[in-house]
Symmetry: C2
Subunit: 299 residues, 2 copies
């Protein structure tokens, strides 16, 4: 009999607890990400009602996924009030006992979900990029999640823009101004186009201009990801990222930007299946958290 697994996605605004098996969410519960104590108590209550053999945690960043670090499982330098230097993994262990637990970034966990049960089945490498209120990227190389110094922060690459563009809009990232997140995430679209991306209608002329420019920026970001990580597939998710209007525009631009240099059928002929939306839809994170729990159990 397969043991039941648990997962938690800690998001900046909401937290999701799930139970299920590998590849299947059987039950989920969502609540606002209040104070750390509130959230950890709510998670503990959920798992008191749903017995599981292991739990996988995906957390917003910056956080510390390094198992050899003294702050492993912590949320570290977040600007989110009350959440700086919070020992999330330790707090859950204190409440739930010594269950096997895995901890990683929310986007790495989503990448794991897509690799194991979604758009990446059969592959050994993948990037999951989410574009919403921020931009996050998770990576898998040779079947393993990318960690290293801290964890990937793919949204914060500096990307090429024209001087005219820079003059018109300096970008909204408090650290870098016009890194990709600073010009391409939801708040940048809202600041620049006067409306949240979703609210500009398809018949508004700004609509096409916005998505064209967004696709230009995303294409050079993906170009860099291809050059550095050479993933076998790129999954683009998030409220902004998974829009068909964007993915349709970015694919030919990525091909044009790479300019035939990366000689792979996936890019030269199969771009429609190289840059894809999440196959698991909104469940990449939940299914990824269950997968991480499964890995923690067999470790």
């Amino acid at each position: 009999m397969d043991e039941r697994l648990g997962g938690i996605e800690f998001g900046g605004t909401k937290t999701v607890c799930v139970v299920g098996g590998r590849g299947v969410v059987e039950h989920e519960e969502r609540f606002p990400t209040g104070s750390p104590e509130q959230v950890m108590d709510a998670c503990a209550a959920f798992f008191a009602a749903h017995e599981v053999a292991a739990i996988g945690l995906g957390a917003f960043g910056p956080c510390d996924p390094d198992p050899d670090s003294p702050t492993h499982g912590w949320i570290t330098t977040t600007p989110k009030p009350g959440w700086r230097d919070v020992d999330l993994l330790g707090g859950l262990r204190a409440r739930l006992g010594d269950l096997p637990m895995g901890f990683d970034t929310d986007v790495n966990v989503a990448a794991l979900g897509e690799l194991a049960h979604g758009a990446g089945v059969g592959l050994s490498s993948l990037v999951y990029l989410t574009i919403g209120t921020g931009v996050g990227g998770g990576g898998i190389v040779d079947g393993r999640l990318v960690h290293g110094l801290v964890h990937p922060e793919m949204g914060h690459m500096r990307i090429p823009r024209s001087d005219a563009e820079r003059t018109t809009f300096p970008g909204v990232c408090p650290f870098h101004g016009d890194c990709f997140e600073g010009v391409g995430a939801g708040p940048a679209l809202a600041a620049r186009w006067g409306d949240p991306a979703q609210d500009i209608g398809a018949d508004d002329p700004r609509y096409a201009a916005m998505w064209d420019l967004e696709a230009d920026y995303l294409a050079v970001t993906l170009h860099a990801i291809v050059c550095v990580l050479s993933p076998q597939r790129i999954v683009v998710g998030g409220g902004v990222g998974a829009q068909r209007v964007l993915l349709e525009r970015v694919r030919p631009r990525l091909q044009a930007s790479l300019a035939g240099y990366i000689v792979s059928p996936a890019i030269l002929e199969g771009i429609d299946t190289y840059v894809v939306p999440p196959a698991l839809g909104a469940q990449s994170g939940g299914i990824g958290a269950l997968e991480l729990a499964g890995l923690a159990l067999t470790r």
Copy 2:
């Protein structure tokens, strides 16, 4: 008794054969990279004289390091005359018999050498970037070489430049114009500054201007590498890359570009040991090839 290992570095202009043990080159021989037949015959002659238990190969790209691919061990779409679609690994097996052999890109092999015996000892992730006549990048994540779709091509990222810069110099990459290789490798420096980088003296005012601009470009390239791969250390080698005048300039620029966002002591306080020249000097590739041979033997 340790078995002796062999290594071959196939470079665009010269090929190097080595024998030794893990971390030690005992003997090496260099010859020009002539035709594939000439080179493979010369390698076979070398290893007829030096018996080894396994051989590690590092090759210029584009090549195919994917062990599951039908063209594994081939040089693929190179512009180098006579070398397109050459089955290097197969040709060596035909000459040397069924020895265990490992095959990877020259830069991945150099990264492996630095990880195992050089600047990366004790780490699990590393990027090795070489800037010479071209720019290549090798990566290691969680102890494993980065492959994926093809292999990394870190030199071909598009990087931010001002419009004035773009007007002054469009870059020399035949594919991308002003990707990092197109503005930052030796031929770009020669095209722009009128002399090969090495020949501009320290008292020539162009000298400082050249290295300042080179450091600006390298800093945003490293910024992207940090964001995508989050390596624990970056080794910068090659005739242009390993110059102290460049590394001294790039470190503060990388810190400034990341702007405190990546909260790691390695970047905030230890940048001098985060971006470093190869600890193995010119032997990163040779020692890496021996390491790859050792891995092939124990696989």
